[in-house]
């Protein structure tokens, strides 16, 4: 399962209302570390398909959601389960920290 995009408009249905845990990647096109993280998140979305969904939220286009979750640095990844934040990872430090975060949702 590849990653998909989420916006301010469908955040509620795609993330908060999701039955499976969702990892949200807050990112932007101009952010170098976000670009490095992208292929790794794609890889993880394959490895964890059906267990944890991975969605991407462009912070430039979706300021409401980024503001609501207090994003002050990107990439920030937040894991939601049952509509609630259960963990977050600030910055890109390789695959390990993303995977550790996703495991919290299993």
């Amino acid at each position: 399962m590849a990653t998909s995009n989420v916006t301010d408009t469908d955040f509620q249905t795609q993330v908060i209302g999701s039955k499976t845990p969702v990892l949200v990647d807050f990112w932007a096109t101009w952010c170098g570390p976000c670009r490095m993280a992208a292929p790794i998140l794609e890889e993880l979305s394959e490895e964890y398909k059906d267990k944890v969904a991975i969605v991407k939220l462009d912070v430039d286009a979706n300021p409401v959601t980024s503001g609501k979750y207090g994003i002050l640095s990107i990439p920030t990844t937040i894991l939601f389960k049952g509509g609630k934040e259960i963990g977050r990872q600030v910055g890109f430090s390789g695959k390990g920290p993303f995977e550790d975060l996703m495991k919290k949702g299993l």
Binding site: C31, V59, L72, S73, I74, V90, G94
Partner: protein
């Protein structure tokens, strides 16, 4: 059991030094593996517009430049792995490098591991990284639209951070512990003539405070000894870099700061191991000089392989 491949050259690092080395070694017909790190691309991945790299009349985005360099090295035949080098055994021939839990074998090695951000050593800093404290204005500046931010440092990196921030923040304060910047004249002029930027000279950050996010800094004037508590929404740290040479400690000669010692071009203290870029260069620290050092190391490495009859 499958026989492990022995590379002519393993390059550790994937900034301008490592990738340029890879471009030259593959063109020299040496089988090349670049152990690029999970966080690959080096310091330029944390920048925006690069104005001083020749060949780009309108400038180029740092991350874009690194993606191009990587594509160039791999197109020419270099293998690239996004794994971190964990250790090296220099007593074995070929050299044995452990990275991402796997072992790799190399007749020669180019160390191009670069340098990493030095964080301020003051209470509260570590806890608030990503919560108002950052080392990457190009990444995080947009979150400080209309906010009050500080930059600590006095070199070109600090000037760039401050200038990027003026596009978003309402007020940018540079905090510097001396009474003059060491940044280039061009950068200083841009900063000092910007009405949004003010400078606190002879000032040090003693502590960062905030509940869940940065709220204020405790500052001290190191001339008068006076301390003050100043509200800030953001703090960008640009006080310098330290060489990433830990895995080579005790194996390859380095100075007390961790910069690897080179002699006769780019040779390390171990025959067959060469060095390029910010891991040894404490003087120039530019993308273009790192690339040049990468080229030098590659040519010397190819020469070493030819002379040792290994290539």
């Amino acid at each position: 059991m499958m026989e492990s491949k022995i590379y002519d050259i393993v390059i550790i690092g994937s900034g301008p030094a490592g990738l340029t080395a890879g471009i030259y070694t593959t063109r020299g017909s040496a089988s090349t593996l670049i152990i690029g790190g999970e966080i690959w691309g080096g310091q330029l991945m944390l920048t925006t517009q690069v104005e001083n790299f020749p060949g780009f009349a309108q400038g180029i985005q740092g991350p874009k430049l690194m993606e191009e360099m990587r594509a160039q090295a791999t197109r020419l035949g270099a293998e690239f792995k996004e794994v971190n080098a964990e250790s090296i055994d220099i007593t074995k021939k070929p050299f044995e490098i452990t990275a991402g839990g796997e072992k790799y074998f190399a007749k020669s090695v180019i160390i191009a591991t670069g340098a990493e951000t030095v964080w301020l050593d003051a209470p509260g800093i570590k806890d608030l990284i990503g919560r108002g404290i950052s080392s990457c204005a190009p990444c995080d500046a947009p979150f400080f639209r209309g906010k009050k931010v500080a930059v600590v440092g006095g070199g070109d990196a600090a000037m760039e951070e401050a200038l990027v921030l003026t596009n978003y923040a309402s007020e940018v304060t540079i905090i510097h512990r001396r009474d003059a910047f060491k940044a280039s004249a061009a950068m200083q002029e841009k900063v000092l003539s910007n009405p949004k930027i003010k400078v606190l000279w002879n000032t040090e950050v003693m502590e960062a405070k905030g509940e869940g996010k940065l709220e204020k800094l405790i500052l001290k004037n190191n001339q008068t000894g006076e301390t003050s508590e100043v509200p800030f929404d953001g703090l960008f740290v640009a006080i310098g870099h330290k060489p990433q040479s830990d895995i080579f400690k005790g194996k390859i000669d380095m100075d007390e700061r961790g910069f690897i010692k080179v002699s006769d071009g780019s040779k390390s203290s171990v025959p067959g191991i060469f060095v390029a870029g910010d891991v040894h260069d404490f003087r120039y620290k530019q993308a273009i000089t790192a690339a040049s050092f990468g080229c030098m190391a590659a040519m010397e490495c190819l020469d070493f392989l030819a002379k040792s009859g290994e290539n």
